[in-house]
Amino acid sequence: MADLTTMLGSLQLKNPVMTASGTFGYGDEFADFIDIAAIGGIIVKGTTLHHREGNAYPRMAETASGMINAVGLQNKGVDYFIEHIYPKTSAIDTAVLVNVSGSTIDDYVATAEKIADLEHIPAIELNISCPNVKQGGMAFGTCAASAYEVVDAVRKVYPKHLMVKLSPNVTDITEIARAAEGAGADSVSLINTLLGMAINANTRKPVLSTVTGGLSGPCVKPIALRMVWQVSRAVSIPVVGLGGIMNATDAIEFFLAGATAIQIGTANFIDPTTTVKVIDGITSYLDANGYKSITDIIGKLEV
């Protein structure tokens, strides 16, 4: 059986399948359906320095092959996470990462510092790409200079693996990826959701309370693949690919495009067992094609 062990820089994962932030809760919500310890890495819900109620309802619109959300980083804040959720996630026998978001650089730094002290959190995913918060979030990730600034500031206080989640809502994503790498990121994950909107023609009103929101699901996969391919050729740190992965074949395509690991997001809403199905499917693909390791197919796109 092929070896799925994955190295993201110095961060070792048992396999390359992770869960995308905001689509897997804190893991235990899926325990009735799968062995969550079988997943390579669980990235828990976006965490901010202070409690956030998130955006008003309605927050979601179904689209052709996808959905638009405008949740707005609803979470109880990093202190609540440390006190109430971390004791539970520590018991999960796999890598649990925290997705960190903020409105200011000071927020990001303060949150990352608190999480750096947690023994069982080997890495954070710095979210500089959330399209659903008024301040910060995507604003940091759509300009190379501000991306550099926030990653640099967090790097100074966060010694463990620093993954930076990139926004696709930019002219040239490789420029932002290089800025993150230059500021000391250990890996980049992409893509976050694409800015979109939905309109109700009957009421002549937007469907979402925020008018615009983040588009995800299989409809974004071609864009995500293209960006993973571009970024993996532009930086030398590992690239974590996500965007519309619904099955193992989708995941294989991301590895071929240059991703070292992948994340499953929206698919968790449709089938809560997607992660383990993708892990099994990757193994089957590697075995059937005579590969000994997942590393044998990374970036092996034949152009």
Partner: protein, 256 residues
Amino acid sequence: MKKYMSDLIVTANTPLNNQYFLLKLTSKETLPAMLPGQFVEVLIDDCSNVFLRRPLSVHFVDKTSNELWLLVQRIGKGTEKMSTWQAGQLVNVLYPLGNSFSVPEKQSSVLLIGGGVGVAPLLLLGDYLKNKAIVPVFLLGARSKSDLLMLEEFAKYGTVYTTTEDGTYGEKGFVTQHSILQQKFDKIYTCGPTPMMKAVAAYSLKNNISCEASLENTMACGIGVCLCCVQDTTDGHRCVCTDGPVFNIKDLKWQI
């Protein structure tokens, strides 16, 4: 309660009128216990532009035939597709989801108010109440006679009163105008269109009657992770899928 994802088998799919249908599903194994107020998320495969599962109330669980009943209104492409499902077809279902109505432990006078397809969860609630030797009063409202659903089934568990907006059956008007409301009840359970539930909530508050409402919302996951289906409550944004769908009206920030 443990949640399951299973392929259930359609045993019957019966049109009730041009808008509503009754879908019955079974399993090779004994169906797990489902509480009144809980719901299921149904996968609608191979239907263009339908991406997410559809949340539907558990209408009834027939233990003798091992069947789960869903009462469905055709309102979009997803439910339109469901109306074409034939006996024998496999349907992927996540269930049972959400909280449930709190069934009284002691003898009390209970009123169950449903409107339109919102009557769905009240049938299983009637069954649970019967097991507690409580005979509820049902007050069911609809636009017109043909939209009053499953009346014979409800009659098995309690007394059924009805209203129609056009006066074609029962008392004419809205449920909150029905004469039965002149009686005193200890507890009210309601499910239906939001304006109706708000009117019921207003009546309950005014008369100091404890009231639980089962809410509807568009959902993605159904298991409390996407945070899309929130309801504004006195405790902030809560998920209808896991903190609900049943809420005590005192916890809702409804402007009534």
